[in-house]
Symmetry: C2
Amino acid sequence: MTIAMIGSGALGLYYGARLQQAGEDVHFLLRSDYDAICNKGLTVHSCDGDFYLESLQGYRNAHEMPKADLVIVGLKTFANQHLKELITPLLSEQTAILTLQNGLGNEEQLAELFGRERILGGVAFICSNRGEPGKVHHLSQGAIRLGEFSAGLTARAEQLSAMFNRAQVPCQAVEDLKKIRWEKLVWNIPFNGLCALTDKTTDLLLAHPPTRELISELMDEVANGANAQDLTSPIDGKAFGAHMIEITEGMDDYHPSMMIDRQQGRPLELEAIYAIPLKQAAQRGIELPRIAMLYSLLSVTEK
Amino acid sequence: MTIAMIGSGALGLYYGARLQQAGEDVHFLLRSDYDAICNKGLTVHSCDGDFYLESLQGYRNAHEMPKADLVIVGLKTFANQHLKELITPLLSEQTAILTLQNGLGNEEQLAELFGRERILGGVAFICSNRGEPGKVHHLSQGAIRLGEFSAGLTARAEQLSAMFNRAQVPCQAVEDLKKIRWEKLVWNIPFNGLCALTDKTTDLLLAHPPTRELISELMDEVANGANAQDLTSPIDGKAFGAHMIEITEGMDDYHPSMMIDRQQGRPLELEAIYAIPLKQAAQRGIELPRIAMLYSLLSVTEK
């Protein structure tokens, strides 16, 4: 399968490398890593075993890339204004688009630009970050769940899931994309925001009883917002939240992406992770006061 | 009147200087400013007109100080474990103790140590900070309201108020100390904590609509907590909060004391400004969820 990887941060590089390693025809749109990868290839330091790809098909410009069967979007959501220019050159009649971006609203934007039937969404539970140019670190986790934006479970989604599984990426196709998006928010809303705001890693927030309790309260609010959205089945905030906390305790002193974004002076993914979920909850009459407060605090850090 | 000033930060130096200027016999317990003030005196840069005191009665050790008619406590509340050793040497039979410290619980600690009949409390609305050693900056405001800890309005409180007024410090003696303490928290709880947490000054928080709204919500919660405490009359959260916001807008890019404490790596006054108010509200069955969240976030910054 010809795959275009748009947004080659840690997530895009890691999953793209796995797919190439499994024999897929992967094309990477690169920016800061372009020179290093073209000269020296890509080294993946993975908790599942390191590997090295001597040669990647890398591009600086989407117009130089071939038409793809599948476009995978790993772009930061604050760069979504570039989706049209980056993806348009890659599309043939049958091209599917899978966004692995954070938060809510990405599928809607892609559907508006390219038609809803093309669009799938996925949530990636992965701890990864970039090292020096040409290196990516896969620290833990790595599974993907994906689903159609405007249909239930399809053969296309099953085929993509099988492809990821062949590439050593545990993957499951699901019927209810909206539900897995909100489930991911149960993690993203507390940990991304609290770590970015306080500049403390996940282990410190969980070791301090007042913030550990706040994390649970925020998770409950996410579940309340989710369960007003006509999901196929409700999210059990307490049980699912406890499960997320248990997984996070296995991630040691993890630096969530938003914490790194703030440390490095990049924009924060506030729209996708906070503003749109708050809006969708409010549209169903649900107030999420702690999430609203966290969003207010994060938004002023960018002023 | 012989006055011992314990805790000679910006507040203690400013009010002590005003009292000395008005002819009171003021003795200052000094630490970092001792050498500069003994050698060169104290310069007060005041919005009401600069002045200079050539000579102050300064001490490094409370045991060298004379017995006082009045002890004024301007110590940071996180140093309250030193109250006993610092104040005991200053007391005669009739000595009164006036604490101008932040938050709740200070009068109770002093009463426990020295007897409740000695104790008065006051709230100072003053924007001040220390410059280089031997200099203090009085930026704006400056008024004090004070009252008895275990009585209504007394002649003693009126006399102290008159003394401050003679010293160009607008002062009012009130019947209900508890009420003025909670009124001060209407300012301290939002502005000290939010500025310390986000590292943004008061003007930026007020100019950004989401944090401006959060400030009002926090002020409402303070009023709710206050109005469960059997005050002589309730605090009108909306009106009093709006008044506090208006005053704060006149303070430009003010750095509250807790923001400066965090920037300089000092402890934060979390117990007096957050923990005790939350506890007193909870004892009356009142939840203050946004204040609790702010306290949790601030407390983890010290980890």
